[in-house]
Symmetry: C2
Subunit: 100 residues, 2 copies
Amino acid sequence: MILELADLRIHPGQNAAFDEAIALGLRDVIAHAKGCKGFKVNKGVESPERYVLQIFWETLENHTVDFRQSEAFTQWRGIVGPFFAAPPVVEHFELVVKST
Amino acid sequence: MILELADLRIHPGQNAAFDEAIALGLRDVIAHAKGCKGFKVNKGVESPERYVLQIFWETLENHTVDFRQSEAFTQWRGIVGPFFAAPPVVEHFELVVKST
């Protein structure tokens, strides 16, 4: 299992609309992508324009190849992209430890 | 519920020792802190010196006041601090949406 962590910055004052848009994009697009095992979005307390998106993929290539080269990527970016104030900062992670 | 997200950078080549140290610190110190509801640590695929620590707190003050002003904070920093190559970047987040 691979965690994609995307650090997102949106334009000020668009939180309510972005909350709806990203929920829709995740449910209608990401959830159906090959190898997608789940997702989570959090928004900043100190930085209300900052969002952290976590998507769990079966393999790294499910994200970097299968998803990014699919039509679904264009659809997804069409839904959330207009809100972005800066390019998303995306990296992948492996689990080290978690509480039970 | 509040998510604390800490972006950590450690000195190169210390991954195995840090993996052990942070697991110990979380289990022996953080897990017993007032309001701590759970934790998770991930390490970078593209950036092996990057770790993302997530701690779930009942309230923001359980972290910023209760924990940071406790002896446990000193203990925790004693365990993980020596590995840090830069000061941790810490912010707090609320849940927007997650998959079921």
